[in-house]
């Protein structure tokens, strides 16, 4: 994998996105994710209402990959139900492991499809998946039964 296919304009733009990097005033759920190997440290905040993500944001510090992946994820999940969110996370994690075959499924990830080939850079996989794992934990804590 070349650097130009890793640090694309889209990824760099998201890595500096300030719109998604803020604090939510009335978050209903906060979850911190930490990547001890490189120190990526993000906190995801969700505002859920009737099982839907009304607003989402993140704070923290990390590499361009972790920051971009988090920002794209936040764009993707706003307005979705927690079931939809869980499905998207599964598709994203599946994509990273090269387990998703159907194009239509990948298309659901919108911009986050940018990380499709991150597995060619094993040292950076953890950075790309951190936010998604953190999100799943947050959602599971909200709906402990499911």
């Amino acid at each position: 994998m070349s650097l130009s296919s890793l640090y694309t304009e889209l990824i760099l733009e998201h890595s500096r996105n300030c719109e998604n990097k803020r604090n939510l005033e009335c978050a209903t759920c906060t979850k911190r994710g930490y990547n001890p190997s490189c120190g990526d440290d993000i906190t995801i905040e969700l505002m859920m209402e009737e099982g839907k993500v009304i607003d989402a944001a993140f704070s923290g510090d990390g590499c361009a990959i972790s920051q971009a992946s988090t920002s794209m994820m936040i764009d993707l999940i706003k307005g979705r139900t927690s079931e939809e969110v869980q499905k998207l996370v599964q598709i994203f994690l599946g994509m990273i492991k090269k387990e998703i075959e159907k194009e239509e499924d990948l298309d659901l990830l919108e911009e986050a499809i940018a990380f499709q080939n991150i597995s060619n850079m094993p040292a950076r996989v953890k950075c790309a998946v951190l936010a998604w794992h953190t999100l799943i934990q947050a959602i599971e804590e909200l709906n402990p039964q499911s």
């Binding site: 640090y7 304009e9 120190g39």
Partner: protein
């Protein structure tokens, strides 16, 4: 002067290409590469003398025992230990520190005592003491740094006091490269009645070690940062401490008589070496020590100093780069941490990796230090005797492109 061409040719790993570029290995503080002398010694042992030491009277077992003890003798001489009884083989520095913390610490530290470490300690010289403090009701206290990343000696004199049971400190910080005035601090701690544990993991590859001159009560290091294989480390301890300390791990090798209900323990150092030891590791460490001795400290220090000086100069010229550590060559070793404005160290290491450069990114197993310095992480380059100024030029060239890759105009 070091004959750098010859030296490099003795390290097979250095000859390879990484991502299509010649490897520039600048992560020596994490682990060093091995010279052929070490690789051959390990192979020779495995091919010809592999046996379980101390456990049999057949030829191979006797040979393995001899080689293990020969390695111990080399280590003792290398660190100027008064005797081989005081040299315990461990898995690595971490295990050696745990041994001291659990065996000495748990049996000697009392509630109300204080344990003092430096804020820049590696987690391996921090977490075990945190645990001992927690279990015994002792307090863990820290020595802090000045603006120049040196230990604040005036403050240190208040922190190390008659309550200090143990002072545990590294000679050289793996995150900052600072070499601390360890003899002064040890003296001071001893005057207060403290026992001193010294982490030599980073200093041993770069500075001549003399445990008697240091007056260390305990001293630890890892073989793999010293051109030896992974999985072999050393604990030096004064006999006066080791002899009364309870064993750390129980099992074979470390016992004398075992009955159904009771056991008496083997003599030093075997009391602390339970189970089949890493003989090939010890043999490799012995060979690494031979290799270093042949070159001699004078040449090694001179070369590494000139690399450090050159790197500090060149790195200072890189725009947006900030060195995190002392700029005083007399107070630092060949380990340099830095930040590059707007660039996360993890991205930096990915980008320079494409130019074949191995450097380290992260908190360097020193999270309390990073918090103290209010840095989430840094990048780190660390040199060894086989690095060259040309490699530093390649590094600087590659670093000057990093901001461009990350979308900055300059």
């Amino acid at each position: 002067m070091l004959d750098i061409e010859t030296i490099r040719s003795e390290f097979p790993a250095l000859g390879q290409n990484v991502n299509g570029k010649p490897l520039v290995y600048l992560d020596n503080a994490a682990t060093t590469q091995m010279p052929v002398g070490v690789l051959e010694a390990v192979r020779n042992y495995k091919e010809r003398f592999n046996g379980n030491p101390h456990r049999g009277s057949h030829y191979l077992s006797v040979k393995a025992t001899m080689l293990l003890e020969e390695a111990r003798t080399k280590v003792a001489k290398f660190i100027n230990s008064p005797s081989t009884k005081e040299v315990v083989f461990t898995k690595n520095a971490t295990e050696a520190l745990n041994l001291v913390a659990y065996s000495y610490g748990l049996s000697s530290i009392q509630s109300g005592d204080e344990i003092v470490i430096c804020i820049s300690e590696h987690h391996s010289n921090l977490v075990p003491w945190q645990r001992v403090a927690g279990l015994k009701g002792a307090t863990l206290r820290y020595l802090y740094l000045t603006e120049e990343y040196e230990i604040d000696l005036e403050r240190a004199k208040q922190i190390i006091n008659e309550k200090t049971a143990v002072l545990a400190i590294a000679v050289m910080s793996n995150a900052l490269g600072t070499i601390y005035p360890i003899e002064k601090i040890v003296d001071y701690a001893h005057n207060q009645g403290a026992v001193v544990v010294i982490d030599g993991a980073q200093s041993v590859p770069h500075l001549k070690t003399d445990v008697q001159k240091l007056n260390a009560d305990f001293f630890v290091f890892s073989g793999h940062k010293l051109f030896a294989p992974m999985g072999i480390g050393v604990l030096y301890g004064k006999e006066s401490f080791l002899k009364d300390m309870p064993p750390f791990l129980m099992g074979g090798e470390m016992v004398e008589y075992v009955t159904e209900q009771e056991t008496s323990f083997n003599e030093l150092p075997h009391k602390f070496e339970a189970g089949t030891p890493n003989v090939e590791g010890a043999v490799g460490l012995g060979a690494a020590i031979d290799y270093l001795s042949e070159i001699g400290w004078e040449k090694i220090t001179e070369h590494e100093k000139s690399l450090t000086k050159y790197a500090l100069e060149k790195l200072s010229e890189v725009q947006y780069l900030k060195i995190i550590g002392s700029k005083n060559l007399e107070k630092r070793g060949p380990v340099i941490s830095f930040t590059l404005e707007g660039c996360h160290p993890h991205d930096i290491s990915t980008i320079v990796d494409m130019d074949g450069i191995a450097l380290r990114a992260g908190h360097h197993c020193a999270q309390p230090l990073m918090n103290y310095l209010q840095l989430p992480s840094t990048s780190r380059v660390s040199f060894s005797l086989y690095n060259t100024k040309e490699e530093i030029d390649i590094l600087v060239e590659s670093l000057s492109k990093v901001r461009g890759w990350l979308g900055y105009e300059s």
